[in-house]
């Protein structure tokens, strides 16, 4: 009868590994979602930044105009272009950072998936071990009976 216990132990160990793998998969998906959410949130922030930056540009031109400068030529233009370059850099930096953050999260997901794959492999190995041990137990018993 010992072989039955060995077999069941292997099956249960595989189930535990599979459960862990499912958890890993879920975590991977959560990481993917988090990465997507990070990109999306950052894009939202960038839109708001553009609006705020446009307000800034408008305020800059307003100031130039107030000071008697023609806002659309010469230095005001250069300043506006410099501001715009700064804003673009800001946006690109934010995007980059968001991409990096998302990449980090996706990496976590990949890690979870890898962990899940490992767990499933462990589960299969455990099941195989359970079967092997069960058969071994059965064979020993059979041998013992034959030898008796």
């Amino acid at each position: 009868m010992g072989f039955l216990f060995e077999y069941q132990a292997g099956q249960q160990e595989q189930a535990a590994y599979n459960f862990n793998a499912d958890v890993n998969e879920r975590n991977a998906k959560a990481a993917d979602q988090e990465a997507a959410q990070l990109i999306f949130t950052e894009e939202q922030n960038i839109v708001k930044f553009r609006e705020d930056f446009q307000d800034l540009q408008d305020a800059t031109q307003q100031a130039y105009r107030y000071n008697g400068w023609i806002a659309e030529e010469g230095t005001p233009l250069k300043v506006a272009l410099a501001n715009a370059q700064e804003a673009d850099a800001e946006i690109e930096t934010r995007r980059y950072n968001a991409q990096v953050g998302a990449q980090t999260l996706r990496e976590k997901g990949v890690e979870s998936r890898l962990q899940g794959q490992l767990n499933r492999m462990y589960g299969k190995a455990a099941a195989t071990r359970g079967k092997a041990r069960a058969f071994q137990s059965l064979m020993q018993t059979a041998t013992a009976i034959a030898g008796a």
Binding site: A59, N83, G101, M121, Y122, M139, Q140
Partner: protein
């Protein structure tokens, strides 16, 4: 107004987005399954190998065990067979006689079994173990064979010792001398004796040698003594026979008795028997001679007890017996006389019984002749003639009673004709009356005759025979009654006056009875019934009683006064019994004479008292 400008707020992250994975594959867990399978395969392989090894081991062990068992069986069988072989054959090979020792045979068996074993390892193991077994068995078997060899030689030696003893006792002179030398040796020439040699050869211990030698000496001495004693006893017995033979010459008897005494004395003198034993043998020889002599005297005398009584009274004419009695102790003499008196009484009784038997035999012959006459076939003339001749013989012997004669003559046609005829049938009345009379013991020939005309011939004869038989039985009963009343049986074997008186009165009474039975007519008893005859016997006894007692008293006085061996006995005629008993009370009760007198007086007292 100040012009706002924008400067980049966010710095670029230093992170790359790449992370260091913490995932590590566990080689143990990963390979657990394969390792387990590997273990399984290894385990299976090991099991298979173990199983094969075990199987091989078991197979070899089984083969070895079987071989060992077979070999041990062979050895046990061989061991058993050795018990019936000669020890030397068991112990040693003998190519000449083509016999093999146990060890050689065992080795042959071992090789034979080993050759059948295919497996080298098993064969090698078997040879090793079998060799051990063979050694063990060989030790046991050889030990047993050696013991048997020693026992055989010892037994042969002891047997030879016994044979030498026989040769010494029974051999001739030369053989005896040679056996003596061989058995006991000669210390003067340092020649060892037989048992000493056996001890030297190791078959017996030195102590046993001494014991066996001593036993042989004792045996030789005892057997020589026994042989001498046997010769002596044979001679003594022969001489006792001669000395006790009353018909032999007196000188020869005297010589025989003297010789036997001398023979015993000689054996005492040469040590064959000791003096006490010699004295005992002389006494036994004297006793035997005396008894033999008295026996001879008794058998040659008509009255054995009288002869013994005469010897008891000291009146013996036999010189040998007289000499022996003088030499013997008086108690021994009394015992011999007492014993011989008993024997004499038996002799006399047997003689009397023989005489009576002869008389009975003669009477029986006449009785048969009478029955032949009664049962004769009347239609056979020759038988009738023979019956008539028998009738005449019976008349000569005065055999018949009146009734019997009448019956015989009736059958022979010499007497009164009966009315019985072939045509007559027996009536019920006749049958009833006659059967009742038979039952009441009052059936008589006369009564049968009364009913002759109512009886068939066969019934007439049958009733007549029954009537005759009743009459005979009545006479027998009457005779027994008379004898009993007269105490005839107690007195008849004595030879004194009491016996004579008793016998005379018995004969007188029987004569009166027979006379009555033979008398016909009134006052006679011819044809009387059983009851009538017994009644007549009682009358005779009563009539003779007074006379008989008077005669017996006179006989008693004659008897006691006539006893010569008791000269100091004085009898008072007025009280012969009392005075005699008073005298006897002071005598030795073992004395046969005293015993005989006492017995007769007691019988006399019973007679007088009517017991």
């Amino acid at each position: 107004m100040k012009v706002p400008t924008y400067r980049q707020q966010t710095g670029i992250t230093e992170k790359t987005g790449a992370t260091m994975f913490g995932v590590r594959a566990d080689p143990g867990a990963m390979s657990a399954g394969l390792r387990a399978v590997g273990d399984l395969v290894s385990s299976a392989e090991k099991m298979a190998v173990d199983y094969y090894a075990e199987q091989q081991k078991i197979k070899r062990q089984t083969e070895l065990d079987d071989a060992e068992f077979e070999y041990k069986q062979e050895l046990q069988k061989l061991q058993q067979e050795q018990t019936t072989r000669k020890p030397k054959e068991v112990l040693f090979d003998d190519p000449t006689a083509r016999t093999q020792s146990f060890s050689s045979i065992g080795q042959q068996k071992l090789d034979a079994i080993a050759d059948k074993i295919q497996d080298k390892r098993v064969r090698r193991a078997f040879k090793q173990k079998a060799r051990n077994s063979l050694n063990t068995f060989t030790i046991d078997v050889n030990q047993s064979a050696r013991n048997r060899l020693i026992d055989q030689n010892k037994a042969a030696g002891l047997s030879k010792g016994n044979q030498l003893v026989d040769d010494i006792v029974m051999g001739n002179g030369a053989k005896k001398a040679q056996a003596m030398l061989e058995l006991f040796g000669d210390p003067s020439t340092n020649t060892p004796g037989h048992y000493e040699k056996m001890a030297q050869d190791g078959y017996i211990k030195d102590s046993e040698s001494v014991k066996y030698t001593r036993d042989a000496q004792v045996s030789v001495r005892d057997r020589a003594r026994q042989a001498d004693t046997a010769i002596m006893e044979n001679n003594v017995n022969k001489r006792v026979v001669v000395a006790g033979d009353v018909n032999a010459n007196i000188a020869d008897r005297q010589n025989a008795y003297t010789s036997l005494i001398k023979e015993i004395d000689d054996r005492v003198n040469n040590g064959t028997i000791d003096p006490a034993e010699g004295q005992k043998k002389k006494m036994a020889a004297a006793d035997d001679t005396a008894r033999s002599t008295i026996m001879g005297i008794m058998t040659s005398s008509a009255d054995a007890t009288a002869a013994v009584m005469q010897i008891a009274s000291g009146d013996t004419t036999d010189p040998i017996l007289g000499q022996i009695f003088k030499e013997m102790d008086q108690g021994d003499v009394t015992k011999i006389v007492n014993d011989m008196f008993t024997i004499g009484t038996k002799i006399d009784t047997e003689r009397r019984e023989k005489e009576e038997a002869d008389e009975e035999k003669a009477d029986e012959a006449n009785r048969k002749n009478y029955e032949t006459i009664i049962n004769v076939d009347q239609s056979d003339e020759e038988a009738m003639a023979s019956a008539l001749a028998l009738h005449k013989d019976l008349l000569k012997d005065n055999f018949y009673t009146a009734t019997e004669r009448k019956a015989a003559e009736a059958v022979l046609g010499l007497g009164k004709k009966t009315q019985a005829g072939a045509d007559i049938k027996t009536t019920k009345e006749a049958t009833k009356i006659l059967n009742r009379a038979d039952n009441d013991n009052i059936l008589t020939p006369g009564l049968v005759d009364q009913y002759a005309d109512q009886l068939s011939t066969s019934d007439y004869n049958a009733y007549y025979k029954r009537a005759i038989t009743e009459g005979k039985e009545g006479r027998t009963a009457a005779k027994s009654l008379i004898g009993s009343k007269l105490r005839y049986n107690e007195f008849k074997d004595s030879n004194n006056a009491l016996g004579d008186a008793s016998d005379a009165m018995f004969q007188q009474s029987m004569f009166e009875l027979d006379d009555w039975l033979n008398t016909s007519g009134e006052g006679g008893g011819a044809g009387a019934s059983y009851q009538q005859i017994v009644q007549k016997a009682r009358e005779i006894i009563k009539e003779n009683d007074a006379e008989y007692k008077t005669q017996m008293q006179e006989a008693l006085i004659t008897y006691v006064t006539g006893i010569s061996t008791l000269p100091d006995l004085i009898v008072d005629p007025a009280d012969p019994v009392g005075s005699t008993l008073q005298y006897l009370a002071n005598q030795d009760p073992r004395n046969p004479v005293v015993k005989a007198i006492t017995l007769n007086i007691k019988n006399y007292q019973k007679l007088i008292q009517g017991n």
